[in-house]
Amino acid sequence: MPLGFVVFGLLVVSGVPHNPDGQPLTLDQALVNINQTTDPGLRYYAAWWLGKMRVSQPAAIEALLLALEDETDRSPDGGYPLRRNAARALGKIGQGYDSVVPALLGCLACDDYYVRETAAQALESLGVSSAVPVLASLLEGGVAAAVQVEGKPHLVQPYNAILEALGTLGNDDLVATIAPFLDHEVPQVRNAAARAMYQITGDAQYAERLVKVLDHEQLQLRRAALMDLGAVGYLAGAGAIANTLAENSMKLIALKGVLEHQIKVENETAQDICGLSADSRRVMELMDSLL
């Protein structure tokens, strides 16, 4: 205890950051923490914090880009925890910074499955269409290559994140690449493929596959299908969403996605604004009933 106190005192005196007990992190302190390497825990937390607090400043972006190249913070399985947090944060705040896209694309080649997964999600949320060829190349070998890594709890690639990103960023040139994954043996991968196929083709049969999953016996899959249908804003699924056996909070999030997608579509197509549509009102009636 006395030794620890001395060390702590030295750290403070030498200007190395600390996170005072019980004190919330400040922006200045977070920037100090992300730029030091003495305490990996503080740096890891600062990376998460900058994204969470939406600190979209050049100093934060630069520090997170450096963190993407970190070699020091390693997990027991050889992963890069700091890179995962940094990629996730950049997905939230990296909009408008040219250097972010190549850095995230580089992460798609990282040894760490979870860094690749987070990078795919970040590229999706930043709307980086130029990432499509690299993302599609990770599906090479098709379903036959999409098998579990021995001794790990995951497949060789983060297929869910890749398929979802392709659905958001790609177009129907990708149909032949994505369609085979509709029959993958892992239900989550099948769902991600259905979601992506619906997004790139607009064909309701793919969204209806997700509606069917709302009746699945496993709650986890029902919840995931709710999130997928909300993410793609499938209006015809609104009633089925409201009737799913799952928490009201999840159903409300899904219906919020449907409502906001509908509003967006109507704003894009309407000639003049003449109040809310019957569809929007119907979705809100369902939402009201779940409060």
Partner: protein, 211 residues
Amino acid sequence: MVAPLKTFETCLQAVNEADSAQGLLDAVEALADLTDERSIPTLIQVLGFNNPGAAVAAVDGLIQIGIPAVSTLLDKLDGYNYGARAWAIRALAGIGDPRGQDLLLDAAANDFSLSVRRAAARGLGTIRWADVPESERAAAMMRSQTILLQVTGDDEWVVRYAAVVGLETLALQLTATADVIIQCLQRLSTDDDTIAVQTRAQWALEKMGAS
């Protein structure tokens, strides 16, 4: 005469003997469907079982029974664990008995669970105002209004959405002017950072003839 398959006694027994999560859910649903006041203590007990499916069914059952369930719900409140308390607040919000109002006011503003704040905000609008003595009614409605206006600034979109629904329901029953509510909804319909909340505020204004 064919005896009914599901009597209060057989349903109660099924709840007490359920040995799986699904079994409990089915038994509670069957018991709740009877809408029998004798099932109130058992339905309240289920709220503390940490089985969300069964708790939802029990809350629905208590809401169906309505007013007769309120005094038992309120009496037992202090003995509830956190989860059971949250479910009880949802039941009280659904029933709308004015005796639950103080609890809903506090929960809508202060509960740490967003689903409890959400249900309480909704419930503050749907209180059965006709059951409040006329001399106290305006003041009681004002208490709901004050907290609901405050809750439109909640951090969680779904709680703000519920506050909009609560304000709409309240405003449609106010005899006095609803200017303050209309101003608040107008602000939300353009300034809230969540489209769904903006849209719901817009719809509330349409329903109130104020858009």
